[in-house]
């Protein structure tokens, strides 16, 4: 693409840095998500490791220029392993005053703020609650502020394509992207290719966007930028060779569900009811029809769970998915799956609660609901997703457990993981060991609740199988025959066997490992779910500072890994950071009678590395 190549000049005096955190923030209509994902792709191609986090407004079409209509995309990219999307921003790009007011607090002291001064009109300032233009007074002291009239420069750059002013302004995100590409010495080619493909049917729009991208880049190059800002170079990270893509938690879970169903040789029936942030999964699965995936948008969450159970009963793999309030609605049906011992996978994309809570904000507060949240003694395996790419393996594991043990399994993921992304070394689907389901077809000595001696699972029979007609239901079942039984001793026995079956899974899952550091350290920091990244970085950093700390991160919440009690006992102190008020801590105290201490936060935002480092220091530097 000669146009872009022509102005690609060698750079001098770039400052080499290990990593950087950049956030693009603007109005919902400013295309910040696209800008962020383009920057991400280019960083990935440049060989950086990275983590991203999009922050969408809760309102669908918030009025332009308002603070609640601000959309942002953050990327942390580096020459080293990147564990989180970053605590504080090196660079904040704001496309209007609302984006400035809502994001400024996250910028590092002396960090760079690049603002489209063209959008700082009186009207927009008023909408953001400014009485004075912050670009014109000293309120941004302590930051390095770059005011550029990106709006005007974009309109000028795309003049030749005959677009209306409004259309022209749509390219200003590409102008900003071009400028940031220049700051970090990035090639524009991937974005040029992408724009040409995206607007193949609309070549003028493609050209305008490319022109804006080039203009932003050229602006930096032609020394119109204040020299003291500098330009940076982020070298490639040491990354395992192979073919990569970026992946969000929603993508990894949905791909894992599909992979797991293929490994089990089952067809998926994915039954769900829309809810933020879980809908992303329904949308993903709905586009996998060529694999025979059935998706069913039910009338509500319990119907979705019930339909999934019906599908499992009929020999498909029933999967249902929701977020906190929807999971609560499913619970009675989940109890039925526990009672009738049918496989079912429940994906819970947790969000801040109770009730509607904060739909777009993340939390890990459904652990109680997952482990304890049903009527009766109703044990159910629970496993959790730790990173955006981890969902692939976790979903496969959920299906393995559900089908091998004839049980519902709940997968806990969360709003952060669902939307965040990271690079993923694409696995070969054929490398995972198969676990084909064997449906019972032999009528000899058949009883619907006769258990496998090892797994305690009952047989799975598809209706349609000759000579195996039988009835199942939620009324307590007689130990082998499954007939209705009100016998108290039988209920005792059945309750115990349901518990043993689930607890027995701990012999079929890996022993708990220490992620960073060693057993026996002064302090173990134990977490689960999306706190993996920040805990990992914080513990690594503190160990570099000479502190005797280790990280343990759980995938299996119930049953817990068989060696966990012993492992935890080897540490002097146990700290449990969670985005809830202490739910795993309760479980650990209950199971192991340990004085586990909580570090809890529920402000809708993931842990910062700094917060965890402070907590670790406070406990070890007494």
């Amino acid at each position: 693409m000669p146009e872009a190549a022509a102005i690609e000049r060698p750079e001098e005096n770039r400052q080499e840095i290990e990593s950087a955190v950049v956030r693009f923030a603007g109005d919902s209509g400013d295309g910040m998500q696209l800008t962020g994902s383009q920057f991400t792709m280019t960083a990935a191609i440049a060989g950086n490791d990275l983590a991203t986090f999009p922050d969408f407004p809760a309102e669908i079409r918030a009025p332009a220029g308002t603070t609640f209509g601000v959309s942002a995309f953050q990327i942390n990219f580096g020459a080293r392993k990147i564990m989180t999307s970053g605590d504080l921003l090196d660079v904040l790009v704001v496309m209007n005053p609302a984006a400035l007011v809502t994001n400024l607090a996250d910028v590092k002291p002396n960090g760079i703020v690049i603002a489209d001064s063209g959008a700082f009109s009186d009207r927009n300032l008023a909408k953001a609650g400014y009485t004075e233009n912050p670009l014109e007074n000293d309120s941004l002291e302590g930051y390095r502020v770059v005011k550029i009239d990106m709006s005007r420069l974009t309109v000028e750059a795309v003049k030749e394509f005959g677009l209306s002013n409004k259309e022209a302004l749509r390219s200003k995100n590409m102008w900003a992207l071009g400028l940031i590409y220049w700051m970090y010495g990035r090639k524009r080619q991937a974005s040029v290719d992408w724009l040409e493909a995206k607007f193949a049917k609309n070549p003028d729009v493609a050209k305008a966007n490319i022109a804006a991208l080039n203009a932003g880049h050229a602006f930096g190059e032609t020394a119109e930028m204040p020299a003291e800002l500098g330009t940076f170079d982020v070298e490639p990270a040491k990354i395992e060779p192979g073919l990569y893509r970026t992946i969000t938690g929603a993508e990894s879970v949905s791909l894992g569900l599909l992979a797991g169903s293929l490994l089990a040789n089952l067809k998926i029936a994915f039954c769900s009811y829309p809810i933020t942030p879980a809908s992303a999964l329904l949308h993903q699965l709905a586009r996998m029809k060529e694999f025979g995936v059935v998706t069913f948008q039910a009338e509500d969450e319990i119907a979705a769970a019930a339909a999934a159970i019906g599908a499992s009963y009929a020999g498909s793999l029933g999967i249902t998915s929701s977020s906190g309030p929807g999971i609560a609605l499913k619970m009675e049906a989940i109890g039925l799956a526990i009672a009738t011992e049918l496989p079912l996978v429940i994906i819970n994309s947790q969000r801040a609660g109770p009730s509607t809570g904060l739909p777009t904000k993340t939390e890990q507060s459904d652990l109680y609901q997952a482990v304890y949240g049903r009527n009766g003694d109703a044990p159910m395996p629970v496993i959790s997703v730790s990173t955006p790419s981890d969902g692939y393996e976790v979903a496969i594991e959920a299906i393995r457990i559900a089908t091998k043990y004839m049980t519902p399994v709940m997968v806990l993921t969360d709003g952060y993981i669902t939307n965040a992304s990271e690079p993923w070394l694409i696995p070969n689907a054929n490398d995972t060991e198969r676990f084909d389901v064997n449906f019972r077809t032999d009528p000899e000595n058949f009883q619907p609740f006769m258990r496998d001696a090892e797994t305690l699972a009952r047989p799975w029979v598809k209706p349609g199988t000759p000579d195996l007609m039988h009835r199942i239901g939620g009324i307590e079942r007689s130990y082998d025959s499954g007939h209705i039984s009100y016998d108290p001793d039988n209920h005792q026995k059945m309750t115990e066997v349901r518990a043993s079956k689930v607890l027995g899974i701990s012999d079929d899952i890996p022993e708990q490992e220490v992620s960073v550091g060693e057993a026996g350290a002064k302090l173990a920091v134990i977490g689960w779910g999306s706190t993996y990244g920040p805990i990992n970085r914080a513990v690594s950093n503190m160990r570099e500072d000479g502190l005797d700390v280790a990280q343990i991160h759980l995938r299996y919440i119930w049953p817990l890994p068989r060696n966990l009690g012993e492992l935890l006992n080897s540490f002097d102190n146990i700290l449990v950071p969670e985005m809830n008020t202490g739910q795993l801590r309760t479980l650990l105290r209950d199971q192991y009678l340990l004085p586990a201490e909580g570090l809890n936060k529920v402000n809708g935002k993931p842990f910062l590395i700094g917060e965890l480092e402070d907590a670790i220091r406070a406990r070890l530097e007494k």
């Binding site: 990935a44 192979g242 791909l255 599909l258 293929l262 029936a269 009338e299 019906g310 689907a429």
Partner: protein, 341 residues
């Protein structure tokens, strides 16, 4: 040579399980059970491909007594469970059984959606106008003024008409029968079975313990002929002893009227003809209530339409064709990728 003898025809009793039936003596559910077993025998239904799904209630115990596949689920949710069964395996014959509380109160939402999606289920609602299993509270079909443990001074809310509800939500097959109509019931059930799509059958069922005689105003022998009209597609809407009464359509006022043949010059040619595909007529028939009108029994409405599950699987087949061979590795690599050397 391998000579196959034709499989022996199953009799009604072959559809009965060895489980002791636990309904109260004299409960209308016994007669319905017999009617369904007779129907399946007459249809030569294959027990291995037949599934009964139910919710919770006296009526919902039904699957335990059928020598087929059976799933006794949770209160109100049987239409949803059954929808999942049918989506997973459209080859199965799926029957859904529940009471008026199960299907119109806690499960009203699911009943509505199963019907409007037109999933190929036979939905049998045993309407006894009471909550039997929980010992006699009034239900959403109970008449105003029903005295029950929860309404000692009489119920005050308007009852729902099951058939009108089913018509209103876009049902493609709506019929009615009664526990005591042992010839009529299997005929209606056979029609329901043959209909592709959601077949909704309201069966009036006497709860001898908590609501005895709830339907006697049209089921009692002495008044049966006067208070019931049995519908037949293309047949004149006649009823009464010697079929001396009939229904005519008052076109000005858009409603049905009861007339007597021979009175005021009325002959059979004036009598309205039942047309199962006429939604307005079905609605008027469903609205009829004694003592002014007879209760309409039989197939009120039947208008075949594509089923939900067939559309789901057509989309899948189409996607399979369009997408070529489904290759997971190719899917994993979809979108922008890059290679790290």
């Amino acid at each position: 040579m391998n000579i196959q003898s034709p499989p022996e025809k199953l009799k009604a009793r072959d559809f009965a399980t060895d489980q002791e039936v636990r309904w109260c003596p004299g409960c209308g559910d016994y007669a319905i059970l017999k009617g369904v077993q007779n129907t399946l025998a007459q249809l030569e239904a294959d027990p291995k491909n037949t599934v009964f799904v139910s919710g919770i209630g006296c009526a919902a115990r039904f699957p335990y007594y059928m020598e087929t596949y059976g799933f006794h689920t949770i209160h109100g949710r049987s239409p949803a469970v059954a929808s999942g069964v049918k989506l997973a395996n459209p080859e199965l014959d799926v029957w859904v059984v529940g009471g008026d509380g199960d299907m119109l109160s806690i499960g009203g939402n699911h009943t509505m959606h199963a019907i409007r999606r037109n999933i190929d289920l036979q939905i049998l609602l045993f309407n006894n106008q009471i909550y039997g299993l929980t010992k006699g509270q009034y239900s959403p079909t109970s008449k105003i003024g029903t005295k029950s443990p929860s309404t000692p001074l009489g119920s005050i809310d308007n009852p729902v008409s099951a058939a009108q509800f089913a018509l209103g939500v876009g049902g493609t097959f709506i019929a009615r029968s009664s526990d005591i109509l042992q010839k009529h019931l299997p005929e209606v059930l056979k029609r329901a079975y043959t209909h592709k799509g959601a077949s909704f059958v309201e069966i009036f069922q006497n709860c001898i313990v908590y609501n005895d005689g709830a339907f006697k105003h049209f089921t009692e022998k002495s008044i049966q002929a006067e208070m019931q009209i049995h519908l037949g597609h293309g047949q004149p809407l006649l009823f009464g002893e010697d079929k001396s009464k009939g229904l005519v359509l008052n076109r000005e006022e858009m409603r049905l009227e009861v007339v007597t043949l021979g009175e005021n010059g009325i002959t059979e040619s004036n009598i309205a003809i039942h047309d199962e595909t006429n939604l307005s007529l079905a609605t008027m028939l469903a609205q009829m209530d004694p003592p002014d009108f007879p209760v309409a029994l039989g197939v009120l409405y039947a208008e075949p339409a594509p089923t939900y599950e067939s559309a789901v699987h057509t989309q899948i087949e189409q996607a399979t064709k369009d997408g070529g061979t489904a290759d997971l590795n190719r899917l994993l690599q979809r979108g922008q990728t890059w290679t790290v050397e």
